[in-house]
């Protein structure tokens, strides 16, 4: 067995052990012992193994570790969600399975992207169409009008638009890096921001803006554009503060959460209490009180992790996110084709910024905005689209150059 294969087995083993230990605890947590967690633990381990070997068999090139790291994160999320609300966890299991299937599907189908690159304007039409659909048929949930509900199935189009947006910006920047191209990117960003602000989804607006800014900087390495970009960010942030009441509430809760604890800053204060209560090693699984935190299984799941896995566990999660971003940037750097390199960069910046926004929000580093913690939070759209994002990154990693190393070759003559 190769050395890297041994590490992969070690990674799989720690995923199994964490799953078995945590779900064993959850099984004996409530007095009639429930066998469901045990089934979930074995089912999850089995699914990860199957997909790991399928990916190794069908897509052996590129970055295989990405999948294992993502499985680890989904597992931590699943443990937390089961602990908070066991019914939601069963749904989450379905979403994880669908996500993993779509992960493989997107590795396979992204090769056809090359074919539609000539007609890349379609992407813009799709983006605007999706925004219009959200605007016309959207339903308001959790303060943002960005959900489409059909029957008992709800979907967040902005998650899909993120990917399309990155593709569109990459296409433009590959073709044209002059002022005209930059203006086009700015135009598309402003259109997206306009719709996102109409939906009151300011967290996503921030992600789109910053991603466009990062991609322009990487494509042109022009500090002037970047400076203008940051000035624009400060200006639009200030405009948002003046125009929207809920931004004022969030900023006030961020600056001093102790002024209005039972009211406006209830969420953030509960989150801070939970994080503080956790300490270094956490309270132990099932011994904290995540039920006091509102929206704990979506936006505030990180506080619950802090509480029950402690500071050490939470730091490990943050490091895992860092490593994912590192791997994504590595894929982007190694890719020889410019447009795919930009797509990988854009997707990973969007992902990294989203993680920063929500973790920063719940620990009161920056004002709170409602975005999900990818792969950990409960939520179908977020889970599925994050897996598709990384399927695309996996495909791009297959295009990348392998490292070339100097080494001595043993030569012996045929006798």
């Amino acid at each position: 067995m190769d050395y890297d294969e041994r590490i992969e087995i070690a990674l799989l083993n720690s995923i199994y052990i964490i799953g078995v230990v945590a779900f064993f605890l959850l099984a004996v947590y409530k007095s009639p012992i429930s066998l469901n967690p045990i089934y979930i633990a074995f089912g999850f381990g089995f699914t990860v193994t199957i997909f790991y070997y399928l990916i190794k068999k069908f897509f052996p090139k590129g970055d295989i570790y990405i999948f294992l790291i993502l499985s680890f994160l989904t597992e931590i999320g699943l443990i937390m969600i089961y602990r908070i609300n066991s019914e939601l966890a069963l749904k989450q299991v379905e979403w994880i399975a669908i996500g993993m299937i779509l992960f493989m599907a997107s590795i396979f189908f992204f090769r056809f992207y090359e074919g539609i690159r000539k007609h890349y304007q379609v992407l813009l039409v799709l983006i605007i169409l999706l925004f219009l659909v959200t605007l016309l048929f959207g339903t308001e949930k959790f303060g943002s009008k960005n959900w489409i509900v059909v029957g008992n199935f709800s979907f967040q189009p902005s998650e899909l638009i993120k990917i399309l947006f990155v593709m569109m910006v990459s296409e433009i920047l590959t073709r044209d890096k002059t002022k005209k191209g930059i203006l086009k990117v700015v135009g598309i960003t402003l259109i997206s921001l306009f719709f996102l602000v109409l939906q009151k989804d300011l967290g996503s607006a921030f992600l789109f803006y910053m991603t466009a800014l990062i991609m322009i900087f990487v494509a042109t390495s022009n500090l002037l554009y970047t400076m203008f970009g940051f000035l624009g960010l400060i200006f639009s942030g200030y405009m948002g503060f003046i125009l929207f009441d809920h931004v004022k509430v969030r900023v006030a809760a961020w600056l001093n959460p102790w002024l209005d604890v039972p009211g406006r800053s209830y969420q953030i204060v509960q989150s801070l209490f939970a994080i503080g209560y956790g300490g270094f090693f956490g309270t132990g699984l099932g011994l904290g009180h995540p039920e006091y935190i509102p929206a704990v299984y979506t936006d505030f799941i990180f506080s619950a992790i802090c509480e029950e896995f402690g500071f050490l566990g939470a730091v490990a999660i943050v490091i895992v996110y860092f490593i994912i971003c590192y791997r994504g940037l590595r894929v982007s750097l190694k890719c020889r084709e410019e447009v795919y390199s930009y797509i990988a960069l854009g997707l990973i910046s969007m992902f990294g910024l989203q993680v920063f926004t929500i973790i920063g929000g719940v620990i009161k580093l920056i004002p709170l905005t409602g975005v999900t913690l990818p792969f950990v939070s409960y939520g179908g759209t977020s889970m599925v689209m994050s897996f598709i994002t990384f399927g695309i990154i996996k495909y791009i990693s297959e295009l990348g150059v392998e490292d070339l190393w100097e080494k001595e070759n043993e030569i012996y003559k045929l006798s």
Partner: protein, 134 residues
């Protein structure tokens, strides 16, 4: 009872989260050093003009000095092609060479799987792929 169990097992959980982390970091370090298995000798060999070369997990073919297998021929590009192992299979990939890489007479566009006895043509030079099944 549950409390004691949970308080003991929380250390186990955190410990294994860090075991996971340790292994990922190990991969990162190996990748940065550049020896993640790329220089291990495999069970496959390449025959060129009656000389047998060992294949590594990743082997480059070309005219330049720093290739694993150097082929001196005017129709060979400096970094012409690569053969690498993924799982148990060996793949041949053309590294955007000028004159192309041929497998059993057909020019390859994408990485292809190699079988024992396959003939690879690089420039004007023919190489034979030998897989030792043990």
């Amino acid at each position: 009872m549950y409390e004691i169990l949970a308080q003991i097992l929380r250390f186990v959980l955190v410990a294994f989260i860090y075991v996971f982390l340790y292994n990922i970091v190990k991969i990162m370090i190996l990748e940065l050093r550049g020896n993640i298995g790329n220089s291990e000798i495999t069970n496959a060999k390449l025959e060129m003009q009656n000389i047998i070369y060992n294949l590594y997990t990743y082997t480059t073919l070309g005219r330049a000095e720093d290739n694993d297998i150097r082929i001196e021929n005017q129709y060979v590009s400096s970094k012409h092609a690569a053969i690498y192992k993924r799982g148990r299979k060996f793949f041949l990939e053309d590294l955007k060479s000028t004159n192309g890489t041929f497998l059993n007479g057909k020019r390859i566009k994408k990485p292809v799987v190699l079988r024992n006895g396959d003939v690879i043509k690089v420039g004007e030079v023919e190489l034979k792929f030998l897989l030792d099944k043990r």
